[in-house]
Structures are given as C-alpha cells and as structure tokens.
Amino acid sequence: MVRISVIWIVFICMFHFAAGQNEDDVRLWASEIMESLAADLDEDVDLTWFTEELIRLARNPVKINRARREDLEQIFFLNDIQIEAILFRRYQLEKFVTIFDLQAVEGLDRRTIMLLEPLLLFDEELDEDHRFFRRRGDLFLRTQWVLETPSGYREREDGTTPFQGNKLKLYSRMEIEPMRDVELGFVTEKDAGEPMFNNQINTLDYVSGYLSWKPNGIVKQVIVGQYRMSTGQGLVLQTAMAPRKSSMTTSIRNRHPAYRPSLSVAEGGGLNGGLIAFGTDNFTIVPFVSIQNVGGRISEDDGGNRFITSIKTDGFHRTLTELEQRKTTLEEIYGISVRWHAGRFILDGGFLHYELEHPLYPVDRPYNIHYFRGRKNQNGWFGWQGSIYNVYWFGEVAFNDNPEPALWTGTLFALSGQLNMAMAYRRIPVDFIAPLGAPLTEAGNPAGESGFYAGMELGLPAGLSLSAYIDYFEHNWLRFQTKSPSNGYDFLSVLTHRPSRGWENLLRYRHRNKVVNVPMDNPGYETGELVQNQFRLQTRYSPDNTWSFTTRADFHYVSRFGERAESPGFLLAQDIRYRHPGEKWNATLRYAMMDVEDYETRIYAYEPDLLYSFSVPSYYGVGNRVVAMVKYTPLRRLDLWVRFSRWHYANRETIGSGNMTIPGNVSREVRFQVRKRF
C-alpha cells in the first residue's frame, strides 16, 4: 500500500512538473507576442481580448494535423495566406510529423515557425486527457495605487470629498476547468476612487463571470454569463477588439472567434446573458441574448418622460455624479447568427435586435444628428470568406432601416512566396446605425466613412523585410472636432532587418493627413489639414532567453494648417530585461526621456507590465520615465510581481486635471500581482 502511494505521489509530482515547465514556456511566448503587438499600437487600446485569446490558446494548443482554418485563425500573427499555405502543405504531406516540416511551407519564415512551436500539437496522443474530473485554472489578484494623492481624494472647503472610495485599484480574476468540457470564471474590479461594500456599491464596482459547457454533439457550446461575439467584418456585431491598421499590413480581416466566454472588465460593449451554439460540422446556428444594466446620464423632458443623453462606457464610478449614472438603463440584445461551410467558402449571416429601457437622445450637435437615437435598432448582415484560386476574398454587407446597405470587402493574395498583398474597400452610409458594430475604419464611429486600403508585405534578401499600407478615407458628414465633410490618408511603412536570430532592427515611418477644426473663434466653421509624420528607429538584441536589450528613438512632427508645430515630439528609451535561466525570477527596467510639448505630437509606447496586463501610455510632456519590475516565483505555480513606475516632468507644476490633479511634477505608481495556477 505504501509503495503504491509513493508511486502515485511520484507520478503526480512528475505530471505537475511537466505541466509547469510547459506553462512557463507558454507564458514566455505569450508575453513576447503581446509585447510585439502592443509596441506597434499608436493609441491606448484595451488589449483584454487578445490577452484572453493568448491564455486560451496557450492552454489548448492547436492540433495541426486536424486543424481547420478557424482553428489556425486563432493564431493572430499568421496571415491568411500563410494559413492557406499550411493547409495546402498538409494536404500534400498528409501529416506534419515535427515542427521542422513547417519549413517547407511557402511564406513561413524562421521566426514565425519559432513563435508557432509552443502553440501546435503534432502528436495528438499527448494532449488526450481523458479524465472526466480535472482541475486546471488560474487565479490572478492585482492591486495598484498612485503614491501621490490627487485632489479628488482631498476634503474640500465645504467638507465633501469628490471621490467616494480609496486610492486602491483592485482586480481579481479566476478561471477554472473543474471537469472536461466545462469552464467557469469570474472577474471583479474596483477602480481607484470607487467605493466598495457600502450603501453606494454593495460589493465591488464590477463583478462578472461565465459558465461554459462544450458537449461533443449537436450542441457545440453553451455559455451563460459574460461572452463576446464577432461576426462578418464587424459591421453589426463586434464586441471583441476591433480589427486595427498595424504593421501586420495584410492582417485586415476580422478573425476573432464568432463567440466565446469572456472575463473582460471593459464596461462597455460586452454581452451578458447566454448563447447556445448547435449544428453540424458544416452548419452552426447561434441564438443569443444579453440583458444587462448600462450606465448613462438620465434626464427628463417637460412631460416627465425619462431619457438618457449618453451611455457611459469608461467604467468609472468614483464621484456622486458618476455613481448616479451607474446602471441606470436596461439594455436588451438578442439575435441569431448562422454560419455555413459551403465548400471553399464560409458564409455567415444573422439578425440583431438592440433595445434600451430609456430612449437615447444625445444633445443635438451638427456632427451627431445621424447617431443612434431612440430605444430600438435592428440589423441584419451577410458575410462571406473563401478562396478563388490564390485570391482570398472576404466581406460583409449589413443592413438597418436605411435602404442603402453598408459594405466592407477585401482580398488577400500572394504575388509570390515573398510578396503578399491586401486590398479592401469600405462604404458605410452616414445613417447606418449599429450600436455593437466596430469594423476596421479610420474613425471611431464608422458611419459615413468610405475608404480604400492597400497593404503589402515583402520579403527581401539579407534578412530584410518591408511592410507597408496606404489607407485613403472620406467622411461624408461632419465628425467630432471636424466641422465639414473631410478626407485624408494614412501611410505606414516598416523596414525590418534581422541580421541574426536574436537581433532585430526596425525603421518605421507613418504619415497621416486628415482634416480637423481650426481651433479659434471661427464663425465660418473653418477646417484645415493636420499632417503627422512619425519616425521610429529601434534595435533589439536578445542573444538568448535570458537577456534582452531594446533601444528606441521616436520623432513625431506635426504640421497644422500649413504651419509646423514649434518642436517635434521626441522619445528616447532603453529597456533591459533579464530572466533567470530557471524562471525563478526576472527583472525589467525601462528608462525613457521624452520631450513632447504639443499634445498632437504625443508618442505612444509600449511599457513592460505585469503578466497579461499591457500598457501603452502616451508620452506627453518634458521629463523622464522610469519603470522597474520584478517577478519572483517562491513556490511552484505561485508567481509574484512588483512594478514601480514614475513620471518626472520638467515643464509642469501639476499633473493631470480636475479631480485627478496631482500637485507637483512627480507621479509614482506601485502595482502588485499574485498568480496561482492550479
């Protein structure tokens, strides 16, 4: 009996050790992928969606020899042409045996294959965990606070304090698989300044979760709780992160999964309710419903009828005014989505009903007269994707009450093994309304935008590669801060040089030309051209998995109405990262010096952050920035992070504005995170 117990204990330890090692590799991979993605962003965006995708992908590697196109599409750094090439090669070989077989796939370079390695399963038997009850999961606990005290936490002369809560931001998240095919998760969040556990907010400001069941039968998945959906090209339904223009210039197609559970804490645009997906291998029907309270400013008309003037999406409930706007209106959403694999094409279509308890009537402004007003909206859509010879064609047509449909369509094709191209066209009528839509467009509100996009990726000799896009856009109606119909274009080129395995140099140039208001008293409603030129030179050297050095210089020139801004935005940053070979601990340092006097010349730069937490702050002001972070693993499956950051300005006597004003020119923040893996 004792011998059996010992063997059992040894077996469990071996299993846990092996699982732990794999998890470490995947974590390393995930943070590198996310860093490279976030480093490319030019604005502060919520990366929660990608974070969740990465965690999920890391836990469930793709079985390469059985994977369908949709499975490979989850690996977002693979473009559609590469996916097609992988599938074609598998068809030729019948089966990939090792990662080395991927070297024969046209268009896959060495770096991409390296990134793919931890995400693919070649020997499927290794992943067959037949136990019914198994325990696998993650628990994250995070807190952060600013050491200085903003004015919102100080008592005013009348005895009131604007912020009702303390300075701590709290976050917890847990996902667990208690048994095969079943997952559940919950997430809580309290922003700095928000009250908790009192009569204003009973628990924490944001509490959400889900339960997911994936039976292997006609019912494919059932989700109760928070979930996200993405259909077509996002014209009607895109509650995941909207596709963006980036240096991955041929990745413009919406490739998010059609539905999946979510633990996002973004308090706008999510779905809470349930869905059921059922069908066959080639045909799926997904009816869904979402019922939740959303925040908004409530007003009453002369007749006593209540209406809302805006929907609050920032998620802050710190002051009495913000608390009054918390969960004020019931939002009901229901619809159905259908997907059909028709030979080489995938067709999808559906219907969406959106309704608010109180009608939405934004304050009338010339630019917003075509915005959604009232209580209800209904949309329908039809999408397609598939290949015709070596051209991949995709698109979506969407409808609402407006007789003119919205259109987003594009093609991807390879002119040779070294040259991939993407072309896309979009035309969205000015009165097209889709409250949950978020397609790839220039403006935040897509209505009234038409545009043409062309992108290319070119492999060159000597470790060089060039990617570029140009996007021409027109807005047929006024926009926020643009008092006239306008047009413009956006051009990006990235020249990358990889002379050796661990060394990468990058030269990036972006040119943007758009029309904005002339900021002065101008009864003539004058607008003018804003031209932005951004240059980035970056070099990164990582001789192995332990050390990484990144030096980066950015220049941002802006010319407004023909006159160049007094000084360009400038950033010089050095990152040093060290990982202990045994993954016991690692440390990251950033030192950056910025000189950005004009808000328009601000520079967005990725910053090292806690695992699965990513920040891309804007560097604005004259001063320097220090970020230091240490991760330590005291016990197996238990990780601790500490992060310290500091802004030190030379040209400011206060930082921030309103209730967030910090007296002095220094702002420091501390973050702690604990992760327990099961």
Binding site: I576, L589, Y591, M593, N624
Partner: protein, 300 residues
C-alpha cells in the same frame, strides 16, 4: 609593436559567452538595480553645456559619446572604459569658443583589475565668479563578449558669486552591446534621477541627458557612428562621425551634428606609451572650440 592597446576592437566570441554571462547574472542585476536605487536617492545647476569637460575624441568631435570605447569614455559612457586593459592616466584641456573663462580641464586614471575597470578623475570648468568642480569614480565591466556595463558616481561642487558653494551627488550609467562583429550599440544616461541644486532661495535641476549610438565598422579600424543625444529641455541632436586610420599610428576623425549644424575635425596619434588626441569643432554663431588630451600607459 609599441602602439598602445587602449583602443580595442570589439569582440564577438560564441565560445563561452553565455556561461560567462550566467555566472555574472546575479552581479549584473544587483548592479543595475543598485544604480537606479541610488540614483533615486542621491542628492542634486543648470549650466550651459551638457558635460563639464568635452574630451577631444567625443564631445569636441560632436559625438554622442554612447559608443566611446577607450579611456576617454570616462567622461561620457562609463561602460566604454571596460575595454581598457592597461593601467593608464591622462589629462586634457578644452577651450570653449576659445574664451579662456569658458575653458575646462580634466585629469583621470584608469585601473583595470580582476573585477572590472575602475577609473577616477577630476574636471574643472569656469572662472572666478562661476565655476564647477567634478570628482568622479566609475566602474565598468565586460559582462560577456557582447555586453559592457558601466556606472559612474560624481560629486559636483558649484561656486557662484551670489550663492556661494553648493554640492550635489550624481549617478550616471551606460551599456554597450555588440550584436555582431561589425556593429555595436550604446546607450547611457546622465543624472536620470534629476537631482537638484538647492540654492539659497530657489532650486534648479541639474542637467539630465541620455544618448544612444550605433557604431559600424565596415573594415578594420574604420568606424562610422550615428548618434543621438537628448538633453531634457533642449532639442535632440543627431550626429554622424567617421574615424579612419591613415597610418598605423595615426587616426583621423570627422563629425557633423544637428541643432545647430556643427562640424568637427580631429586626429589621434599613438607613439610609444603615449597617445595624443586633438579636435576642433565649429559653431555657426559662436565660432570654434577645441580640445586636446594626452594619455600615458603606466603599466601594461
């Protein structure tokens, strides 16, 4: 061959670099964190030039100094002194715009040992009514064939007729990496913690600046360098410089930099145990500045 070996070619050896690095890892991390920790704590004038003394091979040649790789690196990126394998001492003189009141002078010594390279020095700038004295100690180490790190602590004393004498302590740090046999990248920062001078009735931030460079050696002894230097409240300066051997013992140097456009010319001569360096640059409004220096090898 009696030519001095102060200036070294960078090396890139694949052999034992990683094992050396791993053995040094704890030290490196402690070193880096200590630097930032102390730089936050250290105490703190804005003066009209970024460095008190511009060496004849770097500052006067309008180079950023991030890829300095000889004993003169003591005045710019301390990591560069890690390449110096000999006990040496040197002195230099700089004449800014050829005005004696704006001249500066410096002396330093470099002592390599089993732990790394320790160097110390003194520099002085100014005239009777306003002057700066700087006492510095630096430590640098070649952590791996592809990595050099350096740190420098400086006690600076300022005398100003109206305010008397005041002192601050400054920390600088830098690194140089060699991703290939022909390329090297350098970065250093001076006074990252933004120390202040607490004068009698007000305080002033001491100058903070950072610099980065990429150095390319297309053939042996020929160096092309693209550099960038940014002082906190001034425009970024982009520089390009060339250094080429015209004789076994003579190097010629040239450089150009932006904001404002400055051009520089200089030369270095190695003879027996001595090396002479001299340089001159031209400012479009204020005229010429020059510097010369001498380095003597005490013991090989």
């Amino acid at each position: 061959m009696l030519a001095l070996k102060i200036k070294c070619q960078f090396r890139h050896e694949n052999g034992n670099s990683f094992s050396l690095m791993l053995h040094s890892s704890r030290f490196i991390i402690s070193f880096l964190f200590c630097f930032f920790f102390f730089s936050f704590l250290s105490l703190s004038v804005v003066f009209c030039q970024v460095q008190v003394f511009n060496s004849p091979v770097d500052g006067i040649m309008v180079r950023s100094g991030a890829m300095s790789r000889d004993a003169w690196a003591f005045f710019t990126n301390p990591a560069g002194t890690a390449l110096n394998p000999v006990l040496a001492a040197g002195a230099g003189y700089e004449s800014t715009f050829h005005l004696s009141d704006l001249s500066s002078r410096a002396a330093f010594a470099v002592f390599p040992n089993r732990y790394g390279v320790v160097s110390g020095g003194f520099s002085q700038y100014g005239f009777s009514s306003f002057n700066l004295q700087q006492y510095s100690v630096a430590f640098a180490r070649e952590m791996a064939p592809w990595l050099r790190l350096g740190i420098k602590g400086t006690r600076m004393v300022r005398y100003q007729q109206s305010y008397g004498s005041h002192g601050i302590f400054l920390m600088d740090a830098g690194l140089q990496i060699m991703p290939s046999s022909q390329f090297a990248i350098g970065f250093f920062t001076a006074n990252p913690s933004r120390q202040k001078w607490d004068l009698d009735n007000h305080s002033e931030y001491h100058v903070s600046y950072s610099a980065a460079s990429i150095l390319y050696e297309p053939s042996s002894g020929l160096f092309l360098e693209l550099g960038l230097i940014k002082e906190m409240e001034e425009d970024a300066v982009v520089s390009f410089s060339v250094e080429a051997p015209v004789h076994q013992q003579v190097n010629l140097r040239g450089g150009v930099s932006s904001a404002p456009l400055r051009m520089a010319f200089g030369a270095g001569l190695e003879w027996e145990m001595i090396r002479f360096d001299a340089g001159i640059n031209h400012h479009p409004t204020l005229g010429f500045s020059s510097a010369f220096g001498i380095v003597y090898v005490i013991k090989r």
